[in-house]
């Protein structure tokens, strides 16, 4: 009995001494309160169609077969939840939603600041329209503060995919492509002109030719015709595909590379 008491005392003493300096950070309650205040807030933006398109276009692939990977002809995405959240998420929150731990930041280039995030259910379809792969994509939205009316934002999206699936996605044809080596990673930068048009828009001959050549994308559903430039940088790191995309943000390729490095080095 005596030895049992000694053991019990040692155990208690061990736990007390091991944790005596452990406490929560000073700002924890503030963060909790912020999340409670912001929970369930629905954010709908005027240009939500554009935003969906930007998210979907980075997932589009040509029908290329890679050994050991499903033959994916196209991708579709839909929101996992009705609302987006504009509280910067914790690692646990993200993990609970998507089942993996992607890297992400709160600010890019000191100009684009976190605005909201959500999760998309993404499916890769084969040529017959059957779903061959299903993913949970984590999406962060960043807005540039400016005095113009024009909305300028970036997205950071992540997918947990095999390297062979990633390799399919980077074979997507675009008007301009470049590869940049950084540490042991290869960053793939691309640019694609994007035309947003009303539902009743009639394609011109030039539109059709450019689309056939793979140097133009058309998306229906806006009020007026808008010619934008879609820029994207993607890489594969630790089993996760990362994409940073911007629509008409007027950033150079180097700036996109800089943003990618910010995430890579997180």
């Amino acid at each position: 009995m005596e030895s049992a008491n000694l053991f019990d005392d040692k155990m208690k003493q061990y736990f007390i001494e091991t944790t005596e300096n452990i406490d929560v950070p000073e700002d924890m309650f503030k963060k909790i309160k912020n999340k409670i205040d912001n929970r369930g807030e629905i954010i709908m933006r005027k240009n939500s169609i554009k935003r969906l398109v930007i998210v979907c276009v980075v997932c589009f692939t040509t029908a290329v077969t890679c050994i050991g990977a499903p033959k994916i002809n196209s991708w579709i995405s839909s929101s996992s939840r009705a609302e987006q959240s504009n509280s910067f998420p914790s690692g646990v929150e993200v993990y609970n939603q998507v089942g993996y731990n992607p890297k992400y930041v709160e600010v890019f280039l000191n100009e684009f600041k976190f605005e909201s995030w959500n999760v998309l259910d993404t499916k890769g379809l084969d040529i017959d329209g059957n779903s061959v792969i299903e993913l949970k994509d984590f999406k962060m939205y960043y807005e540039r503060e400016n005095k113009n009316e024009k909305e300028e934002f970036l997205t950071l999206s992540t997918s947990k995919v095999s390297e062979s699936v990633f390799n399919q996605s980077i074979q997507y044809k675009s008007k301009f492509n470049d590869k940049i080596e950084y540490n042991t990673l290869t960053l793939h930068y691309s640019e694609m002109p994007y035309k947003f048009v009303p539902d009743d828009y009639e394609l011109t001959q030039q539109d059709k030719k450019d689309m056939e050549d793979g140097v133009l994308e058309i998306s229906y559903g806006t009020d007026k015709i808008e010619n934008n430039l879609m820029q994207n940088i993607t890489w594969y790191q630790d089993g996760i595909q990362y994409n940073i995309s911007g629509n008409d943000v007027n950033l150079t390729e180097n700036k996109f590379v800089e943003m990618a490095k910010t995430v890579i080095n997180k």
Binding site: M11, T18, I22, D23, M28, I32, I36, R39, S90, V92
Partner: protein, 195 residues
């Protein structure tokens, strides 16, 4: 206000009362989760999420006097959920480093104790998750078998069995460590060079 009154106010949506509840439970919460997971940053995330969930779910708690068990059950399950999804235990922080840093200036008795802590730490880290949780709730939280069974959602017999198994493993480890240290003490006294 006493704790029951605070909880009732929280159930009515009072953030001020919730702030008081947070103050009451924050330190113990982070320490329990840390002892289960072994990762400080993860523990902060889990505790934060647990309090948020607590605020939104506490209105479903009928008997406010059972808040403590209810909340620690929430904390425990959240810790398990994350570890289970990862399908491996998060590597423990090296708590024993602190002992190493102090080694040069402390007394021999303190040194021996810290060496035992290193052994104990290593053994606790190797315990199966539910055994480790049982040990933490029993020794650190000072909970009864009955309380632990409610938190862990198992029979009291299961708690006893886990406690018994875990204690035996840890006792053996402590005993081995103590025997080694007795040899060191004897040597340092100059009684013998080799044992």
């Amino acid at each position: 206000m006493n704790e029951v009154e605070i909880i009732k106010e929280v159930q009515n949506g009072s953030l001020n009362a919730f702030a008081q509840l947070f103050e009451l439970y924050k330190t113990q919460s982070i320490r329990i989760v840390y002892l289960i997971t072994g990762d400080m940053y993860l523990s902060e995330d889990i505790v934060q999420e647990a309090f948020i969930k607590c605020y939104h779910s506490v209105k479903n708690l009928n008997n406010t006097e059972l808040f403590k068990s209810w909340f620690f059950k929430l904390l425990t399950r959240m810790s398990w959920k994350y570890i289970d999804r990862q399908k491996k235990l998060v590597p423990f922080d090296d708590i024993s480093q602190k002992a190493d840093e102090e080694k040069t200036s402390e007394s021999l008795n303190n040194f021996v104790q810290n060496e035992q802590y290193k052994e104990l730490h290593a053994e606790i880290k190797n315990l199966e998750l539910k055994q480790r949780t049982t040990i933490v709730l029993y020794y650190f939280n000072d909970m009864s078998i009955k309380e632990i069974s409610k938190i862990m959602g198992c029979f009291e017999g299961t708690v006893k069995s886990r406690l018994y198994t875990a204690r035996n493993k840890l006792k053996i480890s402590l005993q081995i460590s103590e025997n080694n240290n007795i040899k060191e003490r004897r040597c340092s006294d100059g009684i013998c060079k080799f044992i």
